[in-house]
Symmetry: C2
Subunit: 414 residues, 2 copies
């Protein structure tokens, strides 16, 4: 453990020095570095694919889903490079004037965005996180320390080398984006306790990883926990919209955090049975509460189902007594991630959007829009389920903080 | 410890219920509650003063500074009530539209401010924190759980009773502001680990308290650490401004976090000796680096002095080679709280304000302006030295988060 702490101390101090340079780097320089990284990824595609083939060959014990996440193809490498080009084109939050005002004593105040500093990213399997996360941190003026999974070690090293090529070619320090090469798990623990060296940790991976990070971290964590998302279909819902939104929210991709897990249908909605049957016909294993079972004959839920994030083609459905009952159910069982209402009644929609305490609340739209790209952020480092600092999809702005600049003419305090 | 956890669980769950009501309470209702609390403090002044007299009588072992912080007088009770009236008049951040935009698919996005939820305040000696913190949390739509020091237990209980009187008279739940009445120290530990019940902990007190909170907390902490603040007097400084600003920054009040601790004087500044001598003549124990000692004959600093927050009438002074050396010194020894430059050269000032990585950077003004009231915030819950969520003086806005409202017309994701 002492060696691990020393390794992270050395990397952290190098990162802090790089962060000072990055904080002052103009947008064009950062964009040039990220575009250079994209070019280097393309130029080194063969090397990256060869490294990935070695990782795949060594990854015999992994399941099919994990192997698919690990796999790189020429198309995926190109998508990674294109993603870097996108990040290079994003609006730079650093230096943005958030607000300004003057006090009666003549002091003038400015609140301006500045980078967070040094960001630690701890992630699993998907090698493209190396490129995404590194570029997002850099564009927001931060240095980062990346720690990928051992199963992707060779892929991550080759991608990291391409990033550094772009960074160095732009005249920025190679230590702007560092990869923890050593696979010793103690290094993760050392990152999690590196207060003063690392300003924030972003875990990206399964619940096991996120839980470990949250349990052990002494550094603030920007994390994504459950997405136990609801759709409430109100009595005044348009049936065609309800059908399209429910099926898309549940089945477009079942493994994403924005997927619907529980469907709440107003008792007064006339097409409840049709909606449940259509969801079933679309390939979803649907279970209902007593009233839904009586109405449709589908299997019954168990009590724990209301608190279960399936991340699969399965959903729980309840018939509820209007919006009040829906709000109470969501408060009792929701995870404050993403919830939607389908209704043509704007007053009911306004109540739902105001009273549901979730990062994202939608009216007449699919919960699968819970994504930084769909929000127009151009990219995302993750979706925060915490309430502090950043909530919901997090892109460049979430990787910044602010400072106050105060302009006087000799003022002293009375 | 189990009893403590159970006590905090019960209080936390009551707070969560109250928080839901407060989150939806209109500004007028919250302001009425806080004005009612002010009226109740005034009406119960005799009771509060009697309770405080008992605390003072029992506080024999405390030092003079601690006793002064504990003491309430009729004027201090009136100031507390006036402070509540001020908070009741602050602009309500809840519901504020931070930004809005539309995507090409027609989805309309709104980012709006919402309360954080449940805030835990852990504090020492000053009984007025009970009123200040309770009112600020409530005006920002949050429930709070207050844990004051045992030395102020009777004072805190009587002030809390007055707050609840105002809250209940306005029709808001009594559990909006709860006071941990039991003096068992395990309750502090239970608050610090009450993730899911308490959203953020704000410690207010000495370094010992803050350090304990930061070490033990599993809930996010909004904390104030060191204020090791610098003033750099540039060669182009106006000597009259430099003198007034340095003396005010160091000596107006020496125990506040915004006080200057280290003075850096440009080697090319012509009136360095006069400045040091004047600071000394104003009653400050000034110690210098080798060049200052040679110039003025004052005692020499020890190496550790550059890293010491005196919070007293003492300062360390160095002669530096221009703004670059000042920046390097501040980066090496500063605490990222508040730093100032005195100069008539706007280009040098701009560099300093941009390159010093502190929450507050000032040009030609006293560091003692590091205060929410002086910023025009009307009040402050504290000054955050962290980089996440809120930085610098924190008032109502820092006690909020945001949510995204998304308006569609049946959109599904491709």
């Amino acid at each position: 453990m002492t060696d691990a702490i020393e390794t992270i101390r050395i990397m952290g101090e190098a990162a802090r020095v790089a962060a000072r340079q990055l904080a002052l780097a103009p947008t064009l320089l950062k964009a040039t570095a990220v575009r250079g990284a994209a070019a280097a990824v393309r130029a080194n595609a063969a090397t990256i694919l060869a490294a990935n083939a070695e990782d795949m060959a060594a990854a015999g014990g992994l399941g099919a889903a994990m192997l698919d996440r690990l796999l790189l193809t020429p198309a995926r490498v190109e998508a990674m490079a294109a993603g870097l080009d996108t990040v290079a084109g994003l609006a730079d939050p650093v230096g943005q004037l958030i607000n300004e005002w003057q006090q009666p004593n003549g002091l003038r105040f400015e609140r301006v965005r500045v980078p967070l500093g040094v960001i630690g990213i701890i992630y699993e399997s998907r090698p493209n996180v190396t490129a995404d996360a590194g570029a997002l941190c850099l564009m927001a003026g931060n240095a980062c320390i990346l720690r990928g999974g051992s199963e992707a070690a060779r892929s991550n090293r080759s991608i990291h080398a391409a990033l550094v090529e772009g960074v160095v070619a732009a005249g920025l320090p190679a230590t702007a984006i560092q990869l923890v090469g050593d696979l010793d798990r103690a290094l993760v623990g050392a990152m999690l306790t590196a207060a003063g060296l690392i300003d924030i940790i972003v875990p990206r991976g399964g619940k096991g990883l996120v839980a470990r990070v949250q349990a052990e971290a002494r550094v603030p964590v920007l994390a994504h926990l459950d997405g136990l998302n609801h759709i409430y279909v109100d009595k005044a819902a348009d049936p065609a919209k309800a059908l399209a939104i429910v099926i898309n929210s549940k089945l477009r991709r079942t493994g994403v955090c924005g997927a619907m897990e529980t469907l709440l249908i107003d008792r007064a909605y006339p097409a409840a049975a049709e909606l449940v049957t259509a969801l079933q016909a679309a390939g979803c294993d649907v279970r209902g509460d007593g009233r839904i079972v009586a109405l449709t004959g589908i299997p019954a839920v168990e009590a724990a189902d209301w608190d279960t994030e399936w991340l699969d083609a399965r959903a729980s459905v309840a018939l509820v007594d209007g919006v009040d009952a829906a709000l109470a159910h969501i408060e009792a069982h929701g995870s404050h991630h993403t919830d939607a209402i389908v209704t043509e009644d704007d007053a009911i929609a306004a109540r739902f959007l105001s009273e549901v305490d979730s990062a994202i609340v939608l009216h007449n739209a699919s919960t699968q829009f819970a994504d930084g790209g769909e929000f127009g952020f151009g990219a995302e480092i993750g979706i925060s389920t915490g309430r502090l600092h950043a909530r919901g999809p997090v892109a460049l702005e979430g990787l910044t903080t602010y400072k106050y600049r105060v302009y006087g003419d000799g003022q002293v305090r009375a």
